[in-house]
């Protein structure tokens, strides 16, 4: 009796040329988008990085970065970062409170209205916003005048307030930061399950203990992520600051703007170095945002 040894049978694989054709067709579909992103986002950024590393008299080096660390630019970075941090913090604190009231509090029923309003106002930045604030809190703005009339206190001469000062900027930035925070915090608030609150209650916890032990810790990643986004948003803002302060406040976006539009010949190296610096700061903030969101998503499932 012979034992027929069966031949090992390899199933026919998909022909190579067809597989390549398939892959090519797939990539062809993303080509338009790829071109778009490549030409108008990636290339400009690459150009900026390359330009930062290109020295004025030819060659490659870090001299531009050294120049970018000159006192006035360092100060601009500091001011921009401070402004962004303060408005982010303000946004987080106040925006969270509003979001909580909107989702869990008494105002629950009007959630749609509030969210729509916030969507609109978070876009009302730039020139019109600066404008609106000047007509309101400028030297002869209606609130300034009202306060003068009612309390006999002049915001400008007595309290040293000015809408185009640093704190004026904070106030104006808050106008689009707060609604943005509300929009970001509302979904996070929805993630706070009522079961947690009830379980904590029945285990004996007071409202304060619940917030301390469960509510805030669970919200923390989402809020941190939102704060990072708010920071990035404020840091990159140009139009509002430009319209309001006309360059009086030393912000990094304004500095770069001046370099681009300057009457002197365009100092590409410096501008690019500053641009790279800006992108790095925003990039760091975005990384924080991404990390925070990952944690948040894990917990809120």
């Amino acid at each position: 009796m012979s034992l027929a040894v069966p031949r090992v049978h390899h199933p026919p694989s998909f022909p190579l040329h067809l597989r390549l054709a398939r892959a090519a067709a797939t990539l062809a579909g993303v080509l338009p988008f790829g071109l778009f992103v490549g030409l108008f986002l990636l290339l400009p950024v690459a150009k900026m990085v390359a330009g930062a590393l290109t020295l004025a008299h030819g060659g490659v080096g870090l001299d531009n970065f050294r120049r970018a660390l000159a006192p006035q630019y360092l100060s601009a970075f500091r001011t921009s970062i401070l402004l962004s941090l303060e408005t982010a913090l303000l946004g987080v604190l106040l925006g969270t409170a509003v979001a909580y009231a909107v989702v869990h509090g008494a105002v629950r029923r009007h959630q749609g209205l509030v969210v729509t309003f916030c969507t609109v106002t978070s876009n009302f930045a730039g020139v019109p916003l600066a404008f609106a604030f000047i007509t309101t809190l400028g030297a002869v703005g209606w609130v300034t005048v009202l306060v003068q009339r009612l309390f006999h206190v002049n915001l400008y001469t007595d309290l040293g307030f000015a809408i185009y000062s640093y704190y004026g900027l904070v106030l104006v930035y808050a106008y689009f930061q707060l609604p943005l925070m509300v929009l970001l915090a509302v979904p996070a608030m929805h993630g706070l399950r009522s079961e947690w609150r009830e379980a904590a209650r029945i285990l004996g916890a007071s409202p304060w203990q619940y917030w301390r032990d469960v509510g805030l810790p669970v919200l923390a990643p989402s809020l941190a992520g939102a704060a990072a986004l708010l920071f990035a948003n404020a840091f990159g803002a140009y139009a509002t600051a430009y319209s309001l302060s006309s360059g009086a406040i030393n912000l990094i976006t304004l500095r770069i703007g001046t370099l681009i539009n300057g009457d002197v010949t365009f100092d590409a190296g410096l501008a690019n170095a500053l641009g790279v610096g800006m992108t790095a700061v925003v990039g760091a903030a975005i990384l924080v945002y991404q990390a925070a969101n990952r944690t948040a998503r894990r917990w809120m499932r």
Partner: protein, 364 residues
């Protein structure tokens, strides 16, 4: 004296009455289920006992004390929610410890208790895991341990197994029952799954439309339903609509049947005779009649469904479709279209009034 008393509870939302007069007494150490379809008021009732809802009318008494106005955190009650109730930012052990932490128990005691409870629910190695790292069944075990940690006077469970897979559900419900009897803790259990209620409880309270329709041990609720709702909700039921005749007879689709001897009912009224599918048996029509005492209906096999433990036949009797459950091990084969005789003991029938409600008078 009953340990937990619900006295004439009422709760309405707008114009809808969620709870419309619920009265229930639970003895110490008893597990009572509130069983009913969604919207019957069982969850609202539970939440009133927990303190998350305040009744419009009525009282809740625990161990003699009126707790109706007491906030949840002061009631000394343990609660297991349907799902998602574990604190996501704490490990299983920290979750279980939470109530004890709030009660400011010494750290050593907390550690010991958490360890004991993890053992009790069979999760000795999972203490350090976060909820998102635990399966649904494990999460509910932790939730149970957390509720028990504070040594509550009563345990409330709001459909704790509904969100779990079938197999996990069956295993876990046995666990819950075991732990409950082991600790001797009084428990109120809400569910829409009648198999769950029947297997777990000392007594079952069947609810509908905000009211309790019947309370009793599982066998009683199953075998002796007082109302049509209870009869149809708990287990499946054949409904034979006909007319009550003289001398305890019942006219059904041209068949003369005998009613159970228990209570004589005046003749001439319409009624529905309820019979469980498993109380019925089948014989081939040609065979000599099995026993003269049995009710017999002649019909035709329409479908045969193999369910594992039983084989369910649908038999058409004069236009009506009846279900007959035959043990899966029975050898007889009844092909589709075969003419058969469906028989059942008259005592297995339950007579109801034709338009709902019981004709059988006051409950025993």
């Amino acid at each position: 004296m009953p340990y937990l008393e619900l006295e004439d509870l009422h709760k309405a939302y707008g114009h809808t009455a969620a709870v419309a007069g619920v009265t229930l007494a639970v003895e110490r150490g008893e597990l009572v289920s509130l069983l009913g379809p969604s919207g019957c008021g069982k969850t609202t009732t539970l939440r009133i006992v927990a303190g998350f809802e305040v009744p419009d009318r009525g009282r809740v008494r625990l161990d003699g004390r009126d707790i109706t106005a007491l906030p949840p955190e002061r009631r000394g009650i343990g609660m297991v929610f349907q799902s998602y109730s574990l604190f996501p930012n704490m490990t299983a052990a920290e979750n279980i410890a939470y109530g004890l932490r709030i009660a400011r128990r010494p750290a050593a005691e907390i550690r010991r208790r958490v360890g004991d409870l993890l053992d009790l629910v069979g999760l000795a190695d999972a203490g350090d895991r976060y909820p998102h790292q635990l399966s649904g069944g494990m999460q509910q075990r932790v939730a149970l341990a957390r509720a028990l940690a504070i040594e509550p006077r009563i345990l409330l469970l709001d459909e704790p197994l509904s969100a779990l897979d079938a197999k996990v559900r069956v295993a876990l419900r046995a666990e819950i029952r075991r732990i409950q009897t082991q600790l001797g803790i009084t428990a109120l259990y809400v569910t829409h799954d009648q198999e769950e209620a029947l297997s777990l409880s000392d007594r079952v309270a069947v609810m509908s439309g905000g009211r309790i329709e019947q309370v009793g041990p599982p066998e009683e609720v199953y075998g002796d339903p007082r109302t049509e709702f209870v009869a149809s909700f708990v287990g499946s039921m054949n409904q034979l609509a006909g007319v009550v005749g003289p001398d305890g007879t019942f006219q059904y689709r041209g068949h003369l049947l005998r009613l159970p001897a228990r209570r004589p009912v005046p003749a001439g009224r319409g009624g529905v005779l309820l019979v469980r599918p498993e109380a019925m048996a089948m014989e081939p029509e040609g065979e000599a009649p099995a026993s003269p005492g049995l009710n017999a209906l002649s019909g035709r096999v329409v479908t045969r469904t193999f369910l594992g433990p039983v084989v369910r036949f649908v038999v058409e009797v004069e236009g009506d479709y009846l279900s007959v459950d035959v043990p899966g091990t029975a050898r007889r084969a009844y092909p589709q279209g075969a003419r058969v005789r469906v028989v059942f003991d008259p005592e297995a029938g339950i007579l109801m009034g034709g338009t709902g409600g019981s004709v059988r008078g006051a409950p025993k």
